[in-house]
C-alpha cells in the first residue's frame, strides 16, 4: 500500500492515532534510557578492580568490650583470630586491616610529598593499616621496591614505610621513581598494582590507596579480616568462620561475612536497584504499548469490516490485507520512534540532573526501535490475521 494512503488511513482516526503516537514516543524514551542505565550499571559491576573477587572473603567485625578494642588486648585478639582462621581447611592466606577495599567512605587522609605539597597533594586517600599478609591475600603484584615484612607502628619515631598503588604514585611523584622518597606519612617502600579502594566520583581516584604494615591500636570503628580461599572452598570457609571466630573470643560482633564480589555488588546496589526498577517499568510500558497497538488494530478491523470486504471482492489477496494492517502499525511505530528520540533526549537531560547517566549513543535508538517494532508486530499479528478472514461477501452488506 502506498505510503500516502497509509498516512490517510491514520489521519482518519486523528485522536486515536495521536494517543497511540504519544504512548509510543514515551515508551521509546523510557526504554532507551533504561537500556542506557542498565548498560552503565553492568559496566560498573564488571569494571576491573585488581582484586580476586570470587575467592576472597571479608569479615567485618568489632570487639564488644572496651578493653578488647584497645592495644595490647586487641593485638593479642588479632593474633589468635588469624591463627584460628589459618587453620580452617581451604584457607590460603589471612590478614587484618583497619578497613577493607570496595567501600564507600572510611578512614582517609591526605598524601603528599612534603617538599612540594601543593603540587603533589592527593586528598581523601584511603589509609590502610594492615598485617603483612594483606598483599598475599589480595594478590597484589609488586611493581617496584620491597614489601615490609613486619608490623611497625604508624606513629613511632621511625614510622611504618608506605606501600602505595601505581595510580597514587603517579599522582604524587609523576614519572619520577617513588621508592625511598619521603611522604607525609613515611618513606615509600614499594609500589603495587592498582586495586579498587573506595568509591569516588573520579574514576582514577578509586585506585588511590596507601597501605602501611602496622599494628592496630584501636578498633572503635571495627576492623576487617580478609581471607583468600581455594576456589572450591569459599562457601565451606564462609560457613565455618562465625563459629571459629566466636570460639577464639565470644566478645565480638560479626557484622558481615561477604566475598569481595558481593561487596562490589553492594557498593553499586543503588544503581542496580534503579536499573532493575527502570527495566521492570520498561517491560510494563512495552506491555501497555502492545495492548494499545492490539486494541487499535482490533478495533480498526471491526470498524472497517465492510471496507476490507470490498477490497477482498475487488481482488486484494489475504496477504495484502495482512501486510496493509501491519504496515499501518509499523508506520505509527516509526513515527512514534522519531518523536521518541526527542523525548529520550529530554528525559536523558532531566535524569542527568539528578543521577549520573551517560549521554545517548547512536546505536541505542536503532536497538530500541527494533524492540518496539517487534513488540508492535507481535501485538497486531492476531487482529491482522482476523482481518484476512473477512469474506469478500461482506462487501455485499455495504450495498
Amino acid at each position: 500500500m502506498p505510503l500516502h494512503l497509509l498516512f490517510k488511513s491514520l489521519l482518519r482516526r486523528k485522536m486515536v492515532t495521536a494517543l497511540l503516537l504519544i504512548q509510543l514516543a514515551m515508551t521509546f524514551a523510557l526504554l532507551l534510557n533504561s537500556m542506557l542505565l542498565a548498560q552503565q550499571t553492568r559496566q560498573k559491576l564488571q569494571q576491573p578492580t585488581g582484586l580476586p573477587l570470587q575467592q576472597t572473603l571479608q569479615v567485618q567485625l568489632k570487639p564488644t568490650s572496651v578493653s578488647l578494642r584497645q592495644y595490647p588486648a586487641l593485638g593479642d585478639l588479632l593474633v589468635r583470630q588469624l591463627e584460628a582462621v589459618r587453620a580452617i581447611p581451604g584457607v590460603v592466606a589471612v590478614a587484618y586491616a583497619n578497613q577493607g577495599p570496595l567501600h564507600e567512605g572510611g578512614s582517609n587522609g591526605n598524601i603528599h610529598d612534603p617538599d612540594r605539597e601543593e603540587l603533589s597533594k592527593a586528598n581523601g586517600v584511603p589509609l590502610y593499616n594492615v598485617s603483612a599478609d594483606f598483599f598475599t591475600v589480595l594478590q597484589l603484584s609488586v611493581l617496584a621496591g620491597e614489601l615490609p615484612q613486619s608490623e611497625i607502628s604508624i606513629d613511632g619515631i621511625a614510622p611504618s614505610p608506605v606501600v602505595m598503588t601505581k595510580s597514587l604514585a603517579n599522582k604524587v611523584f609523576g614519572s619520577e621513581p617513588a621508592i625511598g622518597r619521603q611522604l607525609n606519612r613515611g618513606p615509600v617502600a614499594a609500589v603495587v598494582a592498582d586495586f579498587y579502594g573506595q568509591r569516588k566520583r573520579n574514576e582514577v581516584e578509586i585506585n588511590f590507596n596507601s597501605v602501611q604494615v602496622a599494628p592496630l591500636w584501636n578498633a572503635d570503628w571495627g576492623y576487617v579480616l580478609l581471607i583468600r580461599t581455594t576456589a572450591d572452598n569459599v562457601e565451606a570457609v564462609r560457613q565455618a568462620l562465625p563459629q571459629v571466630l566466636q570460639r577464639v573470643d565470644s566478645n565480638i560482633e560479626i557484622f558481615s561475612v561477604r566475598t569481595l564480589q558481593e561487596q562490589l555488588q553492594r557498593l553499586y546496589s543503588n544503581e542496580f536497584g534503579l536499573a532493575s526498577l527502570l527495566s521492570l517499568l520498561s517491560v510494563l510500558m512495552l506491555l501497555v504499548s502492545m495492548i494499545s497497538s492490539y486494541s487499535n488494530a482490533y478495533f480498526h478491523t471491526l470498524k472497517h469490516q465492510q471496507e476490507i470486504g470490498i477490497k477482498r471482492a475487488l481482488g486484494a489477496s489475504k496477504r495484502r490485507i495482512f501486510t496493509e494492517l501491519l504496515s499501518e502499525n509499523w508506520l505509527s511505530t516509526g513515527l512514534g520512534a522519531i518523536a521518541g528520540v526527542g523525548c529520550a533526549v529530554v528525559l536523558n537531560q532531566l535524569l542527568s540532573q539528578v543521577i549520573s547517566i551517560p549521554p545517548l549513543s547512536w546505536w541505542l535508538p536503532v536497538a530500541t526501535c527494533a524492540i518496539l517494532l517487534l513488540c508492535v508486530t507481535v501485538a497486531t499479528w492476531y487482529p491482522a490475521a482476523i482481518a484476512t478472514r473477512i469474506s469478500p461477501a461482506t462487501a455485499t452488506k455495504a450495498l
Binding site: 494517543l19 536497584g273 526498577l277 517499568l281 495492548i291
Partner: protein, 432 residues
C-alpha cells in the same frame, strides 16, 4: 437514590457486555497509578518536614575555623570542641546543642550478652529543640559530664521488659550508668538533625549520653570526623578538647529574624577576632543553614528516588493516554446505544450523569487495583533500596491523595469519549 442504582446497573451491564476492554482499561490505569504512588510514598515521606512549626527557626552554623589556609572552601560540616566552645559563648539563640553519634554495646550486667546500640551524645537543649517527648524521668539539669543516660522507649522495653526504669543501672561499654529518663515513642523522619552523608534516612538513636561524658570516655563519631592538625583522635578527653579534631554537629534555635541577623553578625565578629588572633588564616565562609534546607545544602537529596519519580510520572502519563485510547475505542463501539438513547428522549445531561457513574465505578476498581500494585511496588523498592525502608508507610493524607488522583485520572480517561458520545451529531451516529 433509585436513579443512581439504575445508572449503576446500566454501567455494570456495559462492563459485562465487553469485559476484556474494560478490564484492560482498569488494569492499565491501576498500573500507572500504583507504580506512581509507590514511588510518591517515598518521595513525599523523605521530603516531608518533621517539625513544621520549627523548621524555619532551627539553624546549623558552620565556620571555616581550621588551622590551614583554604580559598573558596566550604566550611567543614562538623566542628571541633573548641569551635563549639566559642559559638556557645553567645546567648542570642533560644536554645543550642552540640552533638554527634557513636556506636556502643549495652547490657544490664556483665553476664548478659551485649546489645549493639546507637548512641546520641549531646547536650540538654537537644530534647527541647527537636520536640523529643519524655515518657518517664527527666533530662540532665545542665551540660556537665555525668554518668546518666536516657533510653528510647524501645530500648527500655527490650532491656528491662518495661518502660518505667528511671533510677535503674545499665552497663554501656562496660561502664555503669544510671537511667534518668525514658523517651516516649519518637521517630523524627527524616532525621534532619544529622543530615550529612544521607544519615537523615536512619532511625533515631537508642540511648542518649551527655556530650562531656562522651568526650571523657573517648566515644568517636561513627558518621563523620576529620582531623586538621597533628592530633591523636584516641585522646578525645585531651586532644579532642583542644586540637582540631572535628566531629560535632551544632544546632541553634533562632526564633526571630532579629535573632538570626544578630547571630550572623556574631559569627562574623567571631571570625574577625580569630583572624586578629592568627587562628583563622582563610577568608570568611560562614554558613547558617535553616533546618529545612540542610539536606540540599549537603547535597544529600535522594537522586534515585527523584529519577524514578520522573520516570513514574512519565509512565502514569503513558497509562492515562493508553486508558483513554482504550476507553475511546470502547465508547465508539457503544456509540449506537448512546445514540439510540438520545433518539428515545434521553437528554445530554442524563447521558453525562450516566458517564459520571461509569467513571465512579471505574475509579473504585482502579483505586483497589492501584493500592494493591502500590503495596507490591513499595515492597519491591524496600528490597532494592533498603536504606529508605523507614519511609514506606502511608498516612491518611497520602491515601486521600491517591483517591483524588485516581478520580482525576478516571475523569480524564472518560472525558473525551463521553463528550464525543454525548455531543456528536445524532443523525450521523444513527447512520453508523
Amino acid at each position: 437514590m433509585e436513579q443512581l442504582f439504575y445508572y449503576l446497573k446500566v454501567s455494570w451491564f456495559s462492563v459485562k457486555r465487553a469485559p476484556l476492554p474494560y478490564m484492560l482499561t482498569v488494569l492499565i490505569l491501576s498500573l500507572g497509578l500504583g507504580v506512581f504512588f509507590s514511588n510518591a510514598t517515598f518521595y513525599y515521606r523523605i521530603n516531608s518536614d518533621p517539625l513544621p512549626a520549627k523548621s524555619d527557626k532551627l539553624f546549623f552554623p558552620m565556620m571555616l575555623l581550621v588551622p590551614y589556609q583554604c580559598s573558596n572552601c566550604k566550611p567543614p560540616s562538623v566542628l571541633s570542641y573548641s569551635n563549639i566552645a566559642k559559638l556557645n559563648a553567645s546567648d542570642i539563640p533560644s536554645a543550642k546543642a552540640a552533638m554527634y553519634s557513636a556506636g556502643g554495646y549495652l547490657r544490664l550486667n556483665s553476664e548478659q550478652a551485649p546489645t549493639p546500640v546507637n548512641v546520641r551524645i549531646t547536650q540538654r537543649d537537644f530534647f527541647s529543640m527537636f520536640d523529643v517527648p519524655m515518657l518517664h524521668g527527666s533530662i540532665w539539669p545542665d551540660n556537665q559530664a555525668r554518668d546518666e543516660v536516657l533510653l528510647s522507649k524501645a530500648t527500655a522495653e527490650k532491656l528491662f521488659g518495661r518502660t518505667n526504669v528511671t533510677g535503674q543501672q545499665v552497663l554501656l561499654d562496660d561502664r555503669l550508668f544510671t537511667v534518668i529518663g525514658v523517651l516516649d515513642q519518637w521517630q523524627m523522619l527524616p532525621r534532619l538533625y544529622d543530615a550529612f552523608n544521607r544519615n537523615y534516612l536512619n532511625p533515631t538513636e537508642d540511648i542518649y549520653l551527655p556530650l562531656e561524658s562522651g568526650y571523657d570516655y573517648n566515644y568517636l563519631s561513627n558518621t563523620n570526623s576529620s582531623t586538621f592538625e597533628d592530633a591523636d583522635y584516641r585522646k578525645l578527653a585531651t586532644d579532642g578538647r583542644t586540637k582540631a579534631i572535628h566531629q560535632l554537629q551544632y544546632w541553634v534555635q533562632l526564633d526571630t529574624l532579629a535573632q538570626q541577623n544578630a547571630y550572623r553578625q556574631f559569627m562574623a565578629n567571631l571570625v574577625a577576632d580569630e583572624k586578629a588572633a592568627g587562628r583563622h588564616p582563610s577568608a570568611e565562609a560562614n554558613q547558617l543553614v535553616m533546618m529545612r534546607d540542610i539536606v540540599s545544602y549537603f547535597d544529600g537529596e535522594s537522586g534515585d528516588i527523584k529519577a524514578f519519580a520522573i520516570v513514574t510520572l512519565l509512565f502514569l502519563l503513558v497509562c492515562v493516554f493508553n486508558a483513554s485510547h482504550l476507553s475511546l475505542n470502547r465508547y465508539l463501539s457503544n456509540q449506537y446505544e448512546f445514540s439510540l438513547r438520545r433518539a428515545l428522549g434521553a437528554n445530554r445531561s442524563q447521558l453525562q450523569v450516566q458517564l459520571l457513574v461509569d467513571m465512579g465505578l471505574m475509579s473504585t476498581f482502579t483505586l483497589t487495583g492501584a493500592a494493591i500494585i502500590a503495596y507490591g511496588g513499595i515492597k519491591l523498592m524496600n528490597y532494592l533500596w533498603p536504606a529508605n525502608s523507614l519511609f514506606a508507610s502511608w498516612d491518611l493524607q497520602l491515601m486521600l491523595a491517591l483517591a483524588a488522583l485516581t478520580l482525576l485520572c478516571s475523569y480524564l480517561v472518560t472525558l473525551y469519549p463521553s463528550l464525543r458520545a454525548s455531543f456528536g451529531s445524532l443523525n450521523k451516529q444513527l447512520k453508523e
